[in-house]
Amino acid sequence: MAESNWTPDQPMVSAKDVHKSFGSLEVLKGVSMDVMKGECVCVIGPSGSGKSTFIRCINGLNDIQSGSITVEGQEVNDPKLDKLSLRKKVGMVFQQYNLFPHKNAIENIMMAPVLVLKEDKDEVEARARELIRKVRLEGKEEAYPGELSGGQQQRVAIARSLAMRPDVMLFDEVTAALDPETVKEVLTTIRDLAEEGMTCILVTHEMGFAREVANQIYFTDRGVIVEHGPPATFFKEAKDPRTKEFLSQIL
């Protein structure tokens, strides 16, 4: 299949003219985006412009009506799509953390590798402890989500995704529910990831973070990508009036 043809010099995630409607409401009106391996892409834009919808399409949580999305050459818009094999490659972190409340931190992290990838439990546990250290949560291994702060929960959620050793990570406004203090600790975690070469697609309102870490910034409005470019040019030389207006409000 197409999958086997993919080589790392081709885009890892490639969206072409993606259209998506909820009933009669067209939310994505032809979105295209190429993300190379190791790139960090930030998607910004006003509320309701379809940012969440778009990144949820990438791991098949939403299906699309037309266009194409490929992840490492695997077509997402394919009725015969093996969603599980797609989702093993694509990690996702949500705004509301969505940890499993009946499992403690380390169990949350270990569950998917043990049950889905059928990996050895001891190996997974060692990896999970390593990940806990990486997201700076030593000592919280046995804590339940209900006992953790929002920022701590979000870092467990990131570790939980990473435990599957994904090739791409999707982040949907993962700091939007946090207070300014905790935003920093989560963003640091994501920055470390990006610097280690993880391919990341982030929906975010953190312009400082986008400027510092992103390779590309995409601005969406009403279901289309209005403008995109590397942070240096994007912030200084925005051409489209909608982008300018958005930036003037937010910066």
Binding site: F94, F100, A112, L115
Partner: protein
């Protein structure tokens, strides 16, 4: 007993909700635990007061009419028999009907949330049919439709009436358990499904590993509530001639020449036994409900 999990059955440290309160019928539906709630509200001394009333009443009447004293004596004599050969069968019937109803009801409830529309529709139809049929009618149908013995080759297995009663009573229980399971599953936020699916869990894994463990405890109070209702419905079987407390009570009174004075002590005694059995269940149900409820 059951492990306590912060955020699930106690207050969470953050204000972000992890789970909605369990509400199988929607917020405007009548209270699903009405029976237990009403019963559990009665003070602890209620059973004692009831017992005292029943035993004191014939005493008070003693002066005026001698046969009330006799009635009381008769009841005392019959009591061990009524309990051992009567009420024990009510408990037995309720126990097995609950067992069958729970197993079938769980399967049916999961059927109601199946992705296969045929399975879903079928489970829904069966659930609605048995949930909205009069219990007595179901009992009669099962009693008359079931053979009195099952012949497999040369082996003849007799099916006693009380077993048929078990099947008959398990049907409405099954339908109500089905609704409890369905309600509990849909009370878990869809975000949990999405989080699980995006970790490449299959639907079955998501259901059994993520969703059901979260709502299992929430199903216990309504499940116990239905057990109490079922137990109180077992005297229906006496209409079909199944030997249980009420049948034997009637027989005992007949054996004592059907004096009208026997009516109150004997039936009050039956009432008292049911109450004594169901009252602790109701209190426990409400206690568990409070404990498992997450306030948002």
């Amino acid at each position: 007993m059951i492990r306590r999990i912060p955020g699930l059955d106690t207050k969470a440290a953050t204000d972000l909700a992890v789970l909605h309160p369990f509400d199988p019928n929607g917020s405007t539906a009548p209270d699903g635990l009405l029976v237990s709630r009403w019963m559990a509200k009665l003070p602890l001394w209620t059973p004692l007061a009831l017992a005292a009333l029943i035993f004191a009443w014939p005493m008070a009447a003693l002066a005026q009419n001698f046969t009330y004293g006799d009635a009381f004596d008769t009841l005392l004599r019959w009591m061990p028999f009524l309990i051992k050969s009567g009420f024990l069968f009510n408990v037995l019937i309720s126990f097995f009907a609950m067992l069958i109803g729970t197993l079938l009801g769980t399967a049916l409830g999961l059927g109601q949330i199946s992705l296969n529309p045929v399975v879903r529709w079928f489970a829904w139809a069966v659930t609605q049919t048995f949930r909205n049929s009069p219990w007595l009618v179901l009992l009669f149908i099962v009693l008359l439709a079931f053979p009195f013995e099952i012949v497999i080759g040369t082996v003849i297995i007799p099916v006693p009436d009380w077993m048929k009663a078990v099947v008959g009573l398990s049907l409405p229980v099954m339908a109500n358990i089905s609704e409890i399971v369905r309600g509990a599953v849909i009370s878990v936020p869809t975000a949990q499904w999405e989080a699980s699916e995006s970790l490449a869990f299959s639907r079955t894994q998501t259901l059994w590993r993520i969703i059901l463990p979260q709502c299992f405890k929430r199903m216990i109070p309504p499940w116990m509530n239905w057990y109490a209702i079922l137990t109180m419905a077992t005297p229906l079987c006496s209409l079909l001639g199944v030997e249980e407390l009420l049948t034997l009570t009637r027989q005992a009174m007949e054996g004592a020449d059907n004096h009208p004075e026997l009516l109150v002590p004997f039936y009050s005694f039956a009432l008292l036994i049911f109450f004594l059995y169901c009252y602790p269940i109701a209190r426990l149900t409400i206690r568990l409900e409070r404990r498992f409820m997450v306030k948002l």
